[in-house]
Amino acid sequence: MSALSALPLSGQIINLLAAVLLLISFAMLVQRRILSLIDLFAAQGAVLCLSTVLVAVTTGQRHLYFSAAITLVLKVVLLPWILHRLIRRLNVKWDVEGLINIPTTMLVGIVVVVVAFNLALPISQLAGTLTRPTLGIALATVLLAFLMMITRSKAVPQVIGFLSMENGLFFAATSATYGMPMVVEMGIALDVLIGMIIFGVFFFQIRTQFDSLDISHLEQLKEK
């Protein structure tokens, strides 16, 4: 494969990390336990951070170091820690039962990946970055996280899906354009953090109200 060998080693490693990212997304999609789900989310953040650093080293884009640092602090350390604390405080450790069974979810997941790859193909060819092939994976990560939010009936996995979706978007920004301008990235990080805090507040409110974090309690408001 001439095209592949033409890539420098760092590019290959980034590709590999992208593949690992996709793998983790799938693992999250089929994971039943909440604590493992949080660990997977942290792992996803770590892979993201690593690949961002690699891109930064290879291309000399200074600001990507900051992005990587934000990712490390926010998504590898802070958010998983908050989530762990929440789980402990709320004392919820049960299995995450989805609305659809796991094999079906996986099959849908494959379809989603195919769609994402096809959608990203024409665009990634226009991008001028080293990492452009990974745009498809980024989109797939976003859509898989979306799928996870749809198929899970509990609050915590939905939130993790939401955060994982943000990871995918971050990866998309890195792979398509070497990251967004600094101001925007700071803003996004801030939004995510505040969002997380609000989620935390919500967990407590929901639990006080229903004695459970099952979202199916939240299905009373429907059109009659």
């Binding site: 590709n15 996709l22 990974t134």
Partner: protein
């Protein structure tokens, strides 16, 4: 035909026959260690085989000739696989036969016969085991094929020697698709070799056993052959895995120097792989039989994603 190559081919066969039980013993040993038990000696499988060969064969009244024929068939199939998978060199007389699709076919053939044998005597356990075995095979085979396809897409060939050569002897390139295929392959191997978490090779618990249920009626040398064949199968999967994912150390030539280099590499990889297997088995819990489709579905999915990733990342745009 090159006599040196022929010798090497023979050597490969003999080595497989000897190394396979040793590998089994090594895995059991590692498992005992990781579980804080006293380990049996590494040669324990040989002792078992010797004991079984000495014993008389006891056959059920209604066993047909198929029942007696199956152990030989099984052993032959696995030995054949071990011979054609490139281990010591990619250029051996039997190498042209090593097509990955054919390999899947040979495994399927063996599976068919052992499932028939399980049902032959007509006991409840035999039928149960056969049914479960076919269920697992039905799900594992497509996944295995997908793994092979991913590997062959990279080297554009389904011939194992070519795959090994193109991965081992070209410029070093990272293939993310192989990472997926590798994980899928491990899952399939666990299922196919009746290891935890799909099956437990060491129990005869009727609720969970699969492989053991089918061979419950065998005894004496028949059982010995089947056990040996099982060891060969494990060995074959290990060498397949090495060929596809860690082909470094498998030389192209057939000279003495090449073999001298290949052998330590092989032993090292087997030792590491065996330890890893023991570790996986120790760390995971046996799952319910009904979870097995999910497990293999995941393997299939990973293999498919491997292929997709290959299309996305590794095909020149």
């Amino acid at each position: 035909m090159n006599p040196a190559a022929l010798t090497l081919q023979l050597l490969e066969l003999v080595m497989a026959l000897l190394l396979a039980p040793l590998l089994m013993g090594w895995v059991n040993q590692c498992r005992a260690w990781t579980q804080n038990r006293k380990a049996p000696p590494i040669t324990q499988p040989f002792r078992l085989l010797a004991k079984l060969f000495e014993k008389d064969v006891v056959l059920a009244y209604n066993a047909s000739s198929l029942f007696r024929f199956v152990p030989y068939m099984l052993f032959a199939c696995m030995a054949l696989v071990c011979v054609i998978v490139p281990v010591l060199s990619t250029d051996l007389p039997f190498s042209p036969a090593a097509d990955v699709i054919a390999l899947v076919g040979i495994f399927a053939l063996a599976r068919l016969f052992i499932a028939l044998a399980g049902m032959d005597v007509g006991t409840a356990f035999g039928g149960l085991g056969s049914r479960r075995e076919m269920l697992i095979g039905f799900l594992a085979e497509p996944a295995l094929l997908m793994v092979f396809f991913t590997a062959s897409l990279i080297s554009r060939s389904t011939a194992l020697p070519t795959i090994v050569e193109s991965l081992a002897h070209r410029e070093f390139v990272i293939y993310p698709s192989l990472a997926f295929a590798g994980v899928a392959f491990i899952l399939v191997s666990l299922a196919e070799n009746a290891r935890i978490p799909v099956d437990n090779p060491t129990t005869h618990l009727e609720l969970t056993m699969i492989h053991e249920a089918m061979i419950l009626e065998y005894s004496g040398r028949h059982l010995a052959l089947i056990e040996w064949a099982a060891a060969l199968k494990l060995y074959a999967y290990f060498s397949l895995g090495f060929g596809l994912f860690f082909p470094w150390g498998i030389p192209q030539g057939t000279g003495v120097g090449n073999v001298a280099m290949a052998l330590p590499a092989l032993l090292l990889k087997l030792a590491a792989g065996g330890f890893l297997l023991a570790l996986i088995e120790t760390l995971s819990a046996k799952m319910r039989v009904f979870r097995a489709p999910e497990f293999l579905g995941m393997a299939f999915l990973l293999a498919v994603i491997g292929m997709l990733v290959h299309m996305l990342l590794e095909v020149p745009a």
